[in-house]
């Protein structure tokens, strides 16, 4: 996948290699540049999202991985302007490129950060929709499922008649494998998986170009998770919407996403294609995350995972925020924060001094594997060519 190189004006000490050709703008549904979000202002300010830039191509899946407090949910809430006070967008821009629509009089590209409430109302649901983690709290407990569908269609498609709305709702439910009698049920009468399916059906009601999934399967067990993930893949191939999928389950993302960004303490620490990230992680945190899942096959050996505990955003260490937990920590890491710099491989970037061109130590074997080596089990060569 070709990607636009990241905007890295401060990274004078890192040479950007292999710049991908600048793609035409409309190739991306969403472009996020130097986006930052704070909670609170003044002395007690906490930076929850720190200078994040990313692009999402049409009909592709971007996975965002990270543990609680890494800023992944804050990022998408702020991006869609759903974030409430004390959350404040403190910088950057988010451009949404809309393809077409008949009567909403929107420009083909909208800066979501500066968009008015009126514009946002037109964009939400018709162009961008969101599925939240807890379907039980997202659905109104005293309204029947049918009402939720009705409300969306009434608001955004005022010309539809009552029976048209009903038919569309039934059609949407069928799409996610639910029977139409569910329309007359209350949320508590459905199982967790069914509720999440209803959420997905409602999100797709107006054929959006971008669907944001905030941990949609975290509260479900593995079997239901598998069903939902398969269904999402099917729906995506039918309707071709782009998707941002947020989760802390990296192995799920590897299966689902085209490209993955890994966040730590509000910043992107690594960004790569899904299989590249899995086969050859470059950031120690990514490596740790991948090693945190006990495998289903192979010998049972003791795993270590990531030592220490997740960072406190109000009290981040100097330098690299992962340094206190990093097994490869160097002097430089404790006082100098590494920028996200592109690697010599297509579209990959990583924020780690180990991969800097002027690094004083060779890159550790674990972080310099090539994808092919991992697959075939060939002994690994040190360093990046």
């Amino acid at each position: 996948m070709s990607t636009k190189p990241l905007d890295m004006e401060e990274t004078s000490n890192v040479i950007e290699r292999n710049l991908a050709p600048l793609a035409s703008r409309s190739e991306y549904v969403l472009e996020v540049n130097n986006f930052s979000v704070d909670y609170g202002v003044g002395e007690n300010m906490v930076r929850a999202v720190d200078n994040v830039s990313l692009n999402l191509s049409r009909s592709k899946v971007l996975g965002i991985a990270g543990e609680s407090g890494s800023g992944k949910s804050t990022l998408v809430y702020a991006m869609t302007r759903l974030l409430r006070a004390p959350g404040v967008i403190s910088g950057g821009e988010v451009t949404l490129n809309i393809t077409s629509d008949v009567d909403d009089h929107l420009d083909s590209s909208v800066n979501l950060v500066t968009a008015s409430e009126k514009e946002l109302r037109k964009i939400r649901w018709s162009h961008v929709s969101i599925v939240l983690q807890s379907a039980l709290s997202a659905l109104n407990p005293v309204l029947r499922i049918g009402h939720e569908f009705d409300e969306v269609l009434k608001t955004h498609r005022s010309k539809m008649t009552k029976s048209e709305r009903r038919n569309r709702s039934v059609e949407l439910l069928k799409m996610v494998g639910l029977n139409e009698d569910r329309l007359d049920r209350f949320p508590h009468e459905l199982s967790g998986g069914q509720r999440q399916r209803v959420m997905i059906a409602i999100a797709l009601a107006l054929n959006p170009e971008l669907v944001i999934m905030d941990e949609p399967t975290t509260a479900l067990d593995v079997v239901t998770q598998r069903e939902i993930v398969n269904e999402l893949n099917e729906l995506r191939s039918r309707f071709g919407f782009a998707m941002i999928f947020i989760t802390h389950d990296l192995s799920l993302l590897v299966e689902l996403a085209d490209e993955i960004v890994v966040m730590y303490a509000g910043a992107i620490v690594e960004r790569a294609g899904a299989s590249e990230l899995y086969g050859s992680p470059r950031h120690p945190y990514t490596l740790g995350l991948l090693n945190s899942f006990p495998p289903l096959h192979g010998k049972r050996t003791e795993l270590v995972g990531i030592p220490g505990s997740p960072p406190d955003l109000a009290d981040l260490p100097m330098g690299c925020s992962f340094a206190p937990r990093c097994p490869f920590v160097m002097d430089r890491c404790t006082h100098d924060s590494p920028p996200l710099a592109s690697l010599g491989e297509s579209g990959r970037s990583v924020a780690c001094w180990l991969h800097a061109t002027d690094a004083s130590v060779p890159v550790p074997v674990e972080l310099s594997r090539r994808v092919a080596d991992q697959v075939t089990g060939v002994t690994v060569l040190k360093g990046l060519a």
Partner: protein
């Protein structure tokens, strides 16, 4: 992994069942469902062993744990603590609580948010008759056992000041401070961040290997069960469908449900693993006859819909409740590990 074949059985359950009656929705009188949340489950918790119970939501695994902790009374069946039977219906005693402790899924819900960690640890100690002057030292010792070092740093913190992983360690410390022989852990890692999960699993393994606790590990994550357990029990709709010593059933699953569970785990190393089932979940109360898994089973046969399968011995220490293995010897099984149990008993006499 530990190989203490002769280790004594700490807690054993025989034919444990728990049925709940519910009203049929929409009908006021006399229409009742019986939900068999746990149906005829037997297991042994052995000193220095981790027994894992795996199943999806609603399979009855948490009800089982609560029956073992005697928070929920079984409808029928027997419990035996260190060989001494416990009468059905008898009240849970302090002695029992001192021997068998439960750790719950969400540490933020299971610790009191208005009290410091000190309170959570010292209270059970005082209730269990520790001397007032010793409790602080005992609480510190408990924190050290779960690798919260130095303990002074944590004693006076409030739950909200700790991360999920640290707080889960506190709740394990709370369970450990009365020096139990059996630890029941109900999904102890599912609410935690990926990066700290392994730490908790390794802690449980350490408690088992170094301090010879008998541990029941309940989870829906079969990969973590494989990582941790000496025996794995797979439950579906209240029944044990497959059980094996070690990780045999993960490496070589014989029951279609176990196969489904394993295929559902995201496994990037195997891109072909894409289990798909479009069947809507059955209500457990409806599967009155036949195998409970039959409505969802890809290889269901006629017999499956009429007769509930018995347990078949599909390998050494490996039992599967499925008609597909009808050619194998039938076992009246309570436990997958009959030999070990016999030896365990002989050491006791």
């Amino acid at each position: 992994m530990s190989n203490q074949v002769n280790a004594p059985v700490q807690l054993s359950a025989r034919h444990l069942s728990r049925h709940f009656t519910t009203r049929v929705p929409g009908r006021l009188f006399n229409a009742k469902h019986v939900v068999r949340a746990v149906d005829d489950v037997s297991l042994d918790l052995i000193q220095g062993h981790v027994t894992a119970v795996v199943g999806e939501s609603g399979s009855g695994k948490s009800v089982l744990a609560r029956m073992l902790a005697r928070i929920i009374a079984p409808t029928s069946g027997e419990l035996e603590l260190e060989g001494a039977p416990i009468r059905v219906g008898a009240k849970r005693t302090l002695d029992y609580a001192a021997k068998v402790q439960l750790v719950l899924q969400d540490p933020f819900a299971s610790t009191n948010p208005v009290h410091r960690v000190r309170h959570s640890l010292e209270r059970p100690l005082l209730i269990h008759g520790a001397d007032k002057n010793d409790v602080e030292a005992l609480a510190k010792a408990a924190l050290t056992r779960v690798s919260l070092d130095p303990p002074e740093r944590f004693l006076d913190r409030y739950p909200h000041e700790l991360s999920g992983g640290q707080l889960q360690r506190v709740s394990i410390a709370r369970a450990l401070c009365v020096r139990p022989d059996v630890l029941l852990a109900d999904e102890p890692i599912s609410m935690l961040d990926v990066s700290v999960r392994l730490g908790i699993l390794n802690l449980l393994r350490g408690l088992c290997d170094d301090e010879h606790l008998a541990i029941l590990y309940i989870t829906h994550d079969i990969a973590s069960a494989r990582y941790l357990a000496d025996e794995i029990i797979v439950m579906y709709a209240g029944q044990v469908v497959e059980r094996s010593r070690g990780s045999v059933l993960v490496d070589d699953p014989t029951h279609p449900y176990t196969q489904l569970l394993i295929a559902s785990v995201p496994d990037p190393s195997d891109p072909t693993s894409q289990a798909s089932q479009k069947v809507e979940r059955t209500t457990f109360a409806l599967a009155e006859v036949g195998c409970r898994f039959a409505p969802r089973c890809p290889s269901a046969m006629d017999i499956c819909r009429t007769t509930n399968p018995p347990n078949f011995q599909v390998g050494e220490g490996h039992v599967s409740r499925c008609w597909l293995h009808a050619d194998k010897p039938e076992v009246a099984v309570e436990v997958a590990l009959p030999e070990r149990r016999r030896e365990g008993e002989s050491t006791k006499t």
